[in-house]
Assembly symmetry: C2
Homo-oligomer: 272 residues x 2
């Protein structure tokens, strides 16, 4: 096989499953090339990915060694995704009675959630999380894409107790500014003590459900390595959780004037 | 830039977003290569993808022309995914009281759902669907990955009516063999008349929820192009929907003997 063809095939295999380590011998066997040739191939992929901002190709030495692809969106890409998100959110057609916004299409958009997942994965990658946790329903697509980019399992916390979850741990939490008491449950099997988890959700107002997720993760003896939300509201300023990362800040929804004010978060603007 | 480096970069760009058409001029501009050179590059990628079973590279001519990557798992890959799924499902530790099976970890596994999504996308690709529809909660990951592989939006049908969905269409359905009446709702904004949709779900027993989804899609004036489920039960044999594709068939769950019988579906075994 010609080098150019082999490079295309190797790139596909690496990109298909981010963060999975592929041993060099896997490539050696599959393509019938010498180990030194495969190493040269990987150096070419690594260099062009770095130059073109396509992600990081990491070589790991040792017994469990090999190579892996780590998604690494550039600052420009992050800004572009968030700009697109803000433009969508600002559309007055999204305004619902009561000042709510229709965002179901955005939070389930495969291409948007794919890129958002890579942004969160790149941000939390250094913490080496063991799992991603989210609360059903709207957080699931972003959380799944984050878990995919990190190559870790996803645990979905349920709002209702389903028989198919087996033994669950249930906790109550105060839902946002509405001050309603709500319940969330997670299967006993979903997390183990000592795990490091990243919490991902679509929306944060007061942070009540994020607080509930933090407490629930604590009940499993697991540790919260970070919290990522797609959109937070500017008010209340003081959230019920401490450190978290958001991509966009919803400032006001003016139902009368049919006007939505939304901006990229400081976390995003700082990096451009 | 050397051809080998350019091929790695082009492969990454194509694989990142399946089914999106990239115009040749996009590559010409980005890499400063002649159009004929880019065409030669794409022919190399196309050939090695075909030879190595890595998917199909399609060239489309005309005004909206360009090139796209279409995921196309090989029969061997499909068999391997389903074998892995069946082995997981057959684990006696999954048995829950009442003969239910714990499958939440499987249906939210990023790597499993990614591959299952590609299998369903490849199967329904010829129908050129405009959207994927699923019922919350456990069907969402597989449905999202199918939508990603097809590059179409995902519409999530809710079991509860949420204020953030705006105006919804609600229908009642008879839940499986339990014969309970349940409700499902979908936002008016989620589908348009004339759309062709694929319904994806994790589990089918009697087919009550799939029947409900078919009826709901019909209420929007949209057309069901196909139904895909991860696991179906062998009984009842007669489902409430006609044509559908499943990957695995759950035959029996013997709670006393702690034994689960599960096999690949005929659709899978036929293609190997």
């Amino acid at each position: 096989m010609r080098r150019s063809a082999r490079l295309a095939a190797m790139t596909k295999i690496l990109v298909d499953r981010p963060n999975r380590i592929v041993s060099l011998s896997e490539f050696v066997e599959r393509f019938g090339a010498a180990k030194s040739t495969v190493s040269e191939d990987l150096a070419i992929i690594r260099d062009v990915f770095a130059k073109e901002g396509l992600g990081r190709i990491e070589t790991l030495t040792g017994a469990a060694g090999g190579v892996r692809y780590v998604p690494l969106p550039t600052a420009q890409e992050i800004a572009a995704v968030v700009e697109e998100l803000c433009a969508e959110l600002a559309s007055p057609e999204r305004i619902l009675p009561g000042g709510f916004l229709y965002i179901s299409d955005l939070v389930s958009s495969p291409w948007l959630t794919y890129r958002v997942g890579e942004i969160f994965a790149a941000h939390f990658h250094a913490k080496a999380p063991d799992a991603v946790v989210t609360l059903e329903t709207r957080g699931i697509p972003i959380a799944l894409m984050t878990a995919r980019a990190l190559d870790v399992p996803l645990a979905i916390v349920r709002r209702v107790n389903r028989v198919t979850e087996g033994t669950v741990v249930t906790t109550n939490y105060v839902s946002g500014s509405a001050k309603r008491i709500e319940t969330m449950s997670l299967s006993r099997r979903a997390l183990s003590p000592g795990m490091k988890v990243v919490i991902i959700d679509d929306f944060m107002k007061a942070g009540g459900s994020a607080r509930g997720l933090v407490d629930l993760v604590g009940e499993f003896g697991a540790e919260v390595a970070g919290i990522g939300v797609l959109v937070e509201t500017a008010e209340p300023r003081q959230k019920l959780v401490g450190e978290y990362v958001s991509l966009a800040v919803l400032e006001t929804v003016d139902v009368e004037r049919r006007c939505v004010k939304v901006r990229p978060s400081h976390w995003v603007t700082q990096r451009v």
